[in-house]
Each structure stands twice: as structure tokens, then as C-alpha cells.
């Protein structure tokens, strides 16, 4: 699945100079930022594009004939084209801009909800008692709670794939779990807590057999590895700009054009209509149908700049770099006494996000001591509480890597963990 054959072709030290924040200190130490799975840092190139837009081209999109409005619209639609190309979508109109992954997933859930109560709607989106939605135990709450709520509203049943002890998706029950009653399968591409990268091919093939739709939560994969929606063969993907060097406030729902066409609107308002009378409205085709109101314009443009930045490096090189760091980190962490890793302990089929526990020491305390050394990790249940329950821990400590991560930073983490053990040992 992962290829180490591609060498990292970029110089991490010079790349780091693009990220102003990496030059700061935290608690008297150089910042060691190991929380990119939470949110990534932003290069100057992205910040500059956003600033230039506000300073030179600001106008609302799709509503003005004036020069500024035209420039803003061109930049916004240009960002859509960049996103489409980045994930190899056949058509930019299949890219819907939303606020984040959470909103993208909820958009699909509410389209199902609305279709379920609208006579004459497309049967693929109609849910009721007896129908099933399938997720996994590995999901971020954003790909779990919306489906719980949808099932509560419609009377459908929620089912899920379990996780194996090694941190892989347990597909042994695939054929019974995904069956004739299944309307949708929604699973994570790369787990934000275990680092596992799922290969959705068997699930997609089974979903096709039974006529179910497939959504892939790509929040952690699109930022870190090449993602090709045509090769994946799924129906929808969701991802979020702030985890891929872009700003907060912008996310993407990609959906197959024919499906977006068949989906009822979710938010009503300006820009999503065709004609409006006092009695009734008709709706614009996608993506406008799903982008009611003034969108996050400069954020979309910032995401486009982030995609330019990542494309310049090349996603295979980004992935290769993170594989190197992950391999280094896995063996460095294994040298720490009493440390237990949750999730795959080999680089195959995993990304650069590593959750672990130090025996008898609470992650809050681990994170606090590390912060005192300038090492920023995330502690808690990482919005994936069922995963913690699965492994019998209330929380974990998580280090996550990106293009700018160095082996020296991994060393700083390991040194910090030694200090944690001294304080609490």
C-alpha cells in the first residue's frame, strides 16, 4: 500500500523556513509541533495569498458584475478547480465547499434525512425502519454522531465494523454487516487516533453488490497521501482545509456528480436557488445547491494556495517523508520503557499519527510535561472515544507528523517522555 521507493525529494530544513510559527519558542524551548493531525501549521505562501486577496480583490462571489466581484469569483472557482484536480475528480462541479469535514458529513446525513421525508425523492437517499447504515468503531465522532442522529430520526439501524487488537478494521463480518438492507457505508480512510490507513476496496465492492452508497472520511488522508477519488471508487469523500496547510473554516464534500444532482438541498438561502416565488423555489444545480449564503471565500482561496504548495512538493514525496519519520518514531518510541502503542506498529498501512500510553501515567500529565519542553502533542480521546473504550483506556497521548516534521523533533519527544517518567515514576 505504501511505497518507500519514492525518496523524499525535498529539503525539510528549507521547507520549514516557509512556516513562520516553527521559528517560535514555547516555554523557553524551540517549538516542536507534533499535533498536525489536530490542525496543521500554515506556510507563508498560504498566508500571503489570503492577505493579498483581502487587500486587493475582496468582493462577494457569484453576485456582482463589478471587477472586484469578478476577481473574487474567479479566485474562488479557481480554488474549486484546484481541489478537484488534487483528488482527481472528473469535474470541479463535484466539489462542494463547506466549513469543515464535520459539515461535509452532516450535509450528506441531512440530505438523506430530507429525502426520507420528501415524496418522490431518489430512493437511494430514503431511509426508514429496516434500513441500515454501516460505520466502524474507528470513526472520529464527526463520522459517528451524524449517523446516530440520522438513524434516530428515520428509524434506520446503525451497525459498525469492529477493530482488531492490532488496530486494523475487522472486515471478517463484511458480508453480513453490509447486506441488502444497507443504504450507506461511511468509514474513515485514515484513523486520526490509530494512524491506520484503511483500504476500502473490499467494502466498496460489497457495497456495489448490495446497492449501498459509500462515503470515505478523508480528513486524515487527503493531507498526507495521494488520494484519487476515481481509483477509490467511492461515492463521497469529506476533508478539511486546516489539516492540509490551509486555513480553518473551509472543508470539502466531494460527491459523484450524478449523486449530488439527485440530492435535495440542506441549507436554504441565497445563491442556492434557480427561481424563487412567494410560494415555492427551485434549486440550482450542484455545487451551488449546497452552498447557501456567502461562502468562506478567502478560506477557499487559502485552501487552493495550500494545494499549490503541497502539489509543488508532490504528494508521493509528502507521504514518503512521513513514512520515514513514522518508521523512525515507531522504533524510537519502542525504546521507551512501559510505552504501549495503540494501532499498527509497522509502517505498512499506517500514517504518521501515533497514539500511545505510558503505564500508570495519565495522558494529561504526559502532555503537560511535554509542553513544558516545547513539545506539543494532543492528549485525550481524540474525538474517537469508542477507540479508547476498545483498548480499555480513558485517553491516549498522540504525536502526529507532517511535511515539516524532523527526526530531531521525534528525539525531543522521546527525551520529554523520559522526563515524564522521572516526574511521575
Amino acid at each position: 500500500m505504501t511505497s518507500l521507493a519514492i525518496p523524499s525529494t525535498f529539503d525539510v530544513a528549507s521547507l520549514r523556513a516557509d512556516f513562520p510559527i516553527l521559528g517560535r519558542e514555547v516555554n523557553g524551548h524551540p517549538l516542536v509541533y507534533l499535533d498536525s493531525a489536530n490542525t496543521s501549521q500554515k506556510p507563508r505562501q498560504v498566508l500571503d495569498v489570503m492577505r493579498a486577496h483581502h487587500e486587493r480583490h475582496n468582493g462577494n462571489v457569484s453576485r456582482s458584475v463589478h471587477t472586484l466581484g469578478t476577481e473574487a469569483t474567479l479566485a474562488y472557482e479557481g480554488a474549486r478547480e484546484k481541489v478537484a484536480a488534487f483528488v482527481n475528480a472528473p469535474d470541479p462541479a463535484e466539489v462542494v465547499f463547506v466549513k469543515n469535514s464535520t459539515e461535509a458529513i452532516n450535509l450528506v446525513a441531512y440530505a438523506f434525512s430530507n429525502a426520507s421525508v420528501t415524496p418522490g425523492s431518489d430512493p437511494r437517499f430514503r431511509l426508514g425502519p429496516g434500513d441500515e447504515v454501516v460505520i466502524s468503531e474507528m470513526e472520529h465522532h464527526s463520522n459517528l454522531v451524524p449517523w446516530q442522529l440520522l438513524c434516530e430520526r428515520t428509524g434506520a439501524t446503525l451497525r459498525w465494523f469492529p477493530i482488531t487488537e492490532a488496530g486494523r478494521l475487522d472486515e471478517s463480518g463484511l458480508d453480513t454487516l453490509v447486506n441488502e438492507r444497507t443504504k450507506l457505508v461511511s468509514i474513515v480512510h485514515m484513523s486520526n487516533i490509530l494512524g491506520t490507513i484503511n483500504d476500502p476496496s473490499r467494502i466498496v465492492a460489497r457495497a456495489r453488490e448490495v446497492g449501498a452508497l459509500v462515503l470515505l472520511d478523508c480528513s486524515q488522508s487527503v493531507p498526507h497521501l495521494p488520494v484519487d477519488v476515481r481509483a477509490l471508487g467511492v461515492d463521497f469523500i469529506a476533508f478539511t482545509g486546516h489539516k492540509m496547510l490551509g486555513p480553518t473554516g473551509i472543508g470539502v464534500l466531494w460527491g459523484r456528480g450524478e449523486l449530488l444532482d439527485a440530492m435535495p438541498p440542506v441549507l436554504g438561502g441565497g445563491s442556492m436557488i434557480e427561481t424563487v416565488t412567494m410560494e415555492k423555489s427551485t434549486f440550482a444545480p450542484p455545487p451551488a445547491r449546497f452552498e447557501a449564503g456567502t461562502p468562506p471565500i478567502v478560506e477557499a482561496i487559502g485552501l487552493g494556495a495550500a494545494i499549490d504548495y503541497l502539489s509543488e512538493i508532490g504528494m508521493p514525496a509528502v507521504q514518503a517523508h512521513e513514512q520515514e519519520i513514522t518508521e523512525y518514531a515507531l522504533s524510537a518510541l519502542e525504546s521507551v520503557p512501559t510505552l504501549r502503542i495503540f494501532g499498527p506498529t509497522v509502517t505498512e498501512g499506517r500514517g504518521g499519527t501515533i497514539s500511545f500510553a505510558l503505564e500508570g501515567i495519565h495522558p494529561h500529565d504526559v502532555g503537560q510535561v511535554l509542553d513544558d519542553e516545547g513539545v506539543e502533542v494532543r492528549v485525550g480521546h481524540h474525538c474517537a472515544r469508542p477507540v479508547c473504550v476498545r483498548y480499555g483506556v480513558p485517553a491516549t497521548t498522540r504525536a502526529s507528523f507532517y511535511v515539516y516534521t524532523t527526526t530531531e523533533e521525534v528525539d525531543a519527544l522521546v527525551r520529554g517522555l523520559e522526563r515524564v517518567r522521572k516526574v511521575f515514576g
Binding site: H364, D365, Q368, G380, H381, P394, V423
Partner: protein, 152 residues
């Protein structure tokens, strides 16, 4: 250094060797509180006899700050007159919400003053307050008066 003020020896001591841990009978009220962001948990039981808190017992799971705080709470409140207990409760809450600007009353708070450094770490104030919020609920259920609102 700030950090040493956060993890004062007294806190680490209470964490490693907690006082009065374990849920005991009889009790008049019980409350279970969870910190949803990190999964820390604490259960507090309050037993009232006349105008005294005959016992405050607890069980919990979590970081050093939340668990040490429960141990200190037990030391300070068990076997105290109800009025006195709420004075201590209110003083501790005030200290935690004071962003490091409140001068703690050592007479009243005992080992609780060790938590004054925690008040400078907004992310950890919730940990320190967790047992105290649970105590307040347990006390209400045990039928004794309550102090002002706790905002964490």
C-alpha cells in the same frame, strides 16, 4: 518556574498516595462527574450526620491534578461541619477561577493551596475542579446546602 508550581510535591504526593480513597457506606448522596474532553472521572459520596459531613469518600480515574484534588478534598471536608465545608469549597473554587491572581488562605485550604499554580493553566482548572463539582452535587443529593455556581 511555572511548571514546578503546577506539579508541586504536595500534589504528586496526594496523587501517588491518595488519602481516604474508596467508596464507603453509608452515604446520603452520590455524584459521578466526567470531564468529556479527557475522560477523567470521579465519583463522590457524601454522608451527613447532624450538621457534620460524617464522611466524604471517592473513587476516580484520571490525571494527577484531578485525582490529587479528590484526595485533598477528602482531607479538607470529611468530618467537618457542613458550614465550614462549604466555606472551604467556595474558597477552593475561587482560587481555581482566579487565573493565578487570588492569594490562597492557607488556614482554610491546607494542602489545597498547592493548587494555586494550576489556576494559571486554564486547560487544567477543569481537572482540579472535577471532584469539587461532583462533591457539590453529591452534597445536594445528601440534602445539604450549596455554595455559589461553579463555572469551569
Amino acid at each position: 518556574m511555572q511548571f514546578d508550581q503546577l506539579y508541586q510535591e504536595i500534589i504528586l504526593e496526594h496523587y501517588k498516595r491518595p488519602h481516604g480513597r474508596g467508596l464507603r457506606e453509608p452515604f446520603g448522596g452520590e455524584a459521578h462527574h466526567v470531564n468529556p474532553t479527557c475522560g477523567d472521572e470521579v465519583t463522590i459520596r457524601v454522608a451527613v450526620a447532624g450538621d457534620k459531613l460524617a464522611d466524604v469518600s471517592y473513587e476516580g480515574m484520571g490525571c494527577s491534578i484531578s485525582q490529587a484534588s479528590a484526595s485533598v478534598l477528602h482531607d479538607l471536608l470529611a468530618d467537618q461541619p457542613v458550614d465550614e465545608a462549604f466555606k472551604v469549597h467556595d474558597a477552593f473554587v475561587e482560587l481555581m477561577q482566579g487565573r493565578g491572581q487570588v492569594e490562597p488562605d492557607e488556614e482554610l485550604l491546607g494542602d489545597g493551596v498547592a493548587f494555586s499554580g494550576v489556576a494559571r493553566y486554564p486547560a487544567r482548572v477543569k481537572c482540579a475542579l472535577l471532584p469539587w463539582m461532583a462533591f457539590k452535587d453529591a452534597a445536594v443529593r445528601a440534602g445539604v446546602a450549596v455554595g455559589p455556581e461553579v463555572k469551569a
